[in-house]
């Protein structure tokens, strides 16, 4: 299987230091026309939204309004994801290389490494990696721990925190690429994305494209959890079938009705449809799914999709920044109704309400927190339609023991 980011010493050995990194991959190159090469590579952002990387870099590079800043986003607030923290723990120099290359390409003179405060191993590795870099590079690098909160990694929240110490989203416009850190154009890129850039700069876009399966390009990191022996991080060629990725993670440990693809901002997919899906951001988007931040969570037998969905909605309602009405009150109401349905204690109208509310939230917050929750809920209402009916009308759960286990 093609690996790129995680090639080299096994992850269990911890971080690859600068000497080993440079011995294996050579010094940091300074390629000409890197943005063109990234464009040909078809690299997309790995933070969840999947925006084309070259397009973003060009926007930042051509912005008026001061010298740009690069923010390497390792906030990773998604509870089911491990990829960013493990990448930073094992290959911090790939991330820093990518950030240096990004700074060079967009004309930035400062790089902020933004790492979730609870990702202690990642912070330690990034810090040590920084101290190993030459003084000229070190002077441009700043490590910032991000508050432990789901929205901390959201772009405007990251900028807000670095500017004012408040990790909450702000209204757009301005978008960070227009006016971000210190009011300057700011390139925000997920740490995995930057690590891919470090390799594309060394080996070229053709090499990167060749790593994918079929028409898909490159590799991608995925976190596989749920009904597998243990939650693992694996690197797969993009385009690999979901079933093959699950098998690479040790295979399923029980029958499974559904897979949560893309994490809490992703959606449920029936297993029968899920196994054959190509794990490629572009292909999935065309099929109406999202790879999100690369989470594959296999619902184990004995777990009820309605209960799991209600649990996630409760989490997302709690994690709302509570700045925008539709998110604050809408998610709270959805979570309360879904919780009652899950617990076989629905009041009249609960299911009807959440069906209606699921369609009312998208695009109605400063950030996309309500959109993510609504998308997850809509997929659950589709995939677990029968189970929702059973919970509300018959007041029973089709999964033996699931309600008792959840309460």
């Amino acid at each position: 299987m093609s690996i790129a980011l995680l090639a080299g010493p096994p992850g269990a050995q911890g971080m690859e230091d600068l000497a080993a990194h440079q011995h294996r991959l050579g010094a940091l190159p300074s390629p000409r026309a890197l943005i063109d090469s990234i464009e040909r590579s078809s690299l997309r952002g790995k933070g969840g939204a999947g925006f084309p990387v070259a397009t973003k870099w060009r926007s930042v590079a051509s912005q008026p309004g001061g010298t740009p800043v690069v923010l390497a986003n390792g906030g990773e607030g998604e509870p089911l994801s491990r990829k960013d923290r493990m990448l930073m723990e094992q290959r911090p120099h790939l991330v820093i290389d990518g950030a240096m290359l990004a700074a060079g390409a967009v004309g930035a003179d400062e790089i902020v490494l933004y790492v979730g405060a609870d990702h202690v191993g990642a912070i330690q590795a990034m810090h040590r990696a920084m101290t190993e870099r030459p003084a000229s590079e070190r002077a441009r690098l700043r490590l910032v721990s991000a508050p432990v909160r789901y929205v901390s990694g959201e772009e405007t929240a990251a900028v807000h925190f670095i500017n004012d110490g408040i990790a909450l989203p702000t209204s757009i416009p301005p978008r960070p690429f227009e006016r971000g850190i210190d009011g300057r154009p700011t390139l925000i890129q997920n740490v995995e994305t930057l690590a891919h850039v470090a390799l594309i700069a060394r080996f070229g876009d053709e090499w990167f494209r060749s790593l994918g399966t079929g028409n898909a390009s490159g590799t991608t990191l995925v976190t596989v959890g749920g009904a597998v022996p243990q939650t693992v991080l694996i690197e797969i060629p993009q385009g690999m079938a979901l079933a093959d990725a699950v098998n690479a993670a040790g295979g399923i440990t029980s029958d499974s009705e559904a897979v949560l693809l893309g994490g809490y901002f992703g959606g449920w997919v029936e297993s029968t449809a899920a196994w054959g899906l190509p794990l490629d951001a572009d292909a999935l988007r065309q099929l109406g799914y999202s790879l999100g931040c690369g989470v594959i969570a296999v619902l184990p037998s004995g777990r009820c999709g309605v209960i799991e969905t209600a649990r996630i909605l409760a989490y997302l309602a709690h994690e709302s920044a509570r700045q925008c009405g539709p998110c604050t009150f809408g998610l709270r109401a959805i979570s309360a109704s879904a919780g009652r349905v899950a617990a076989l204690a629905s009041t009249p109208g609960d299911l009807e309400h959440i069906q209606r509310w699921a369609g009312l939230l998208a695009g109605r917050g400063a950030c996309r927190h309500p959109d993510g929750a609504a998308g997850l809920l809509a997929s659950a209402l589709r995939i677990f339609a029968g189970e929702f009916q059973l919970h509300e009308h018959d007041r029973r759960c089709g999964v033996v023991g699931a309600v008792a286990a959840a309460s």
């Binding site: 539709p326 998110c327 009150f329 509310w357």
Partner: protein
């Protein structure tokens, strides 16, 4: 040619007073919690004056007119 507009809301500023839905019901309805839902598409010319009044009447200055991108012919 005349410009086409829609309404945009700063969701953080909006406190759900609901004045906008009173002033320009053709474009805005309120959700179950009193927060505005904006109708998609351009504001009809006959409604534009009401929309402007809603913008200037918003107690939190959260509402604004936004020019829609028009395809050049």
């Amino acid at each position: 040619m005349s410009d086409r507009y829609t309404l945009a809301i700063d969701r953080i500023k909006c406190d759900g007073h609901g004045v906008c839905a009173d002033l320009v019901p053709e474009m805005i309805e309120l959700d179950d919690w009193g927060y505005p839902i904006i109708r998609a598409g351009a504001i009809p010319p006959s409604v534009l004056p009401h929309a402007r009044r809603a913008v200037s009447g918003c107690p939190t200055l959260a509402l604004r007119l936004q020019r829609l991108a028009v395809a050049r012919r």
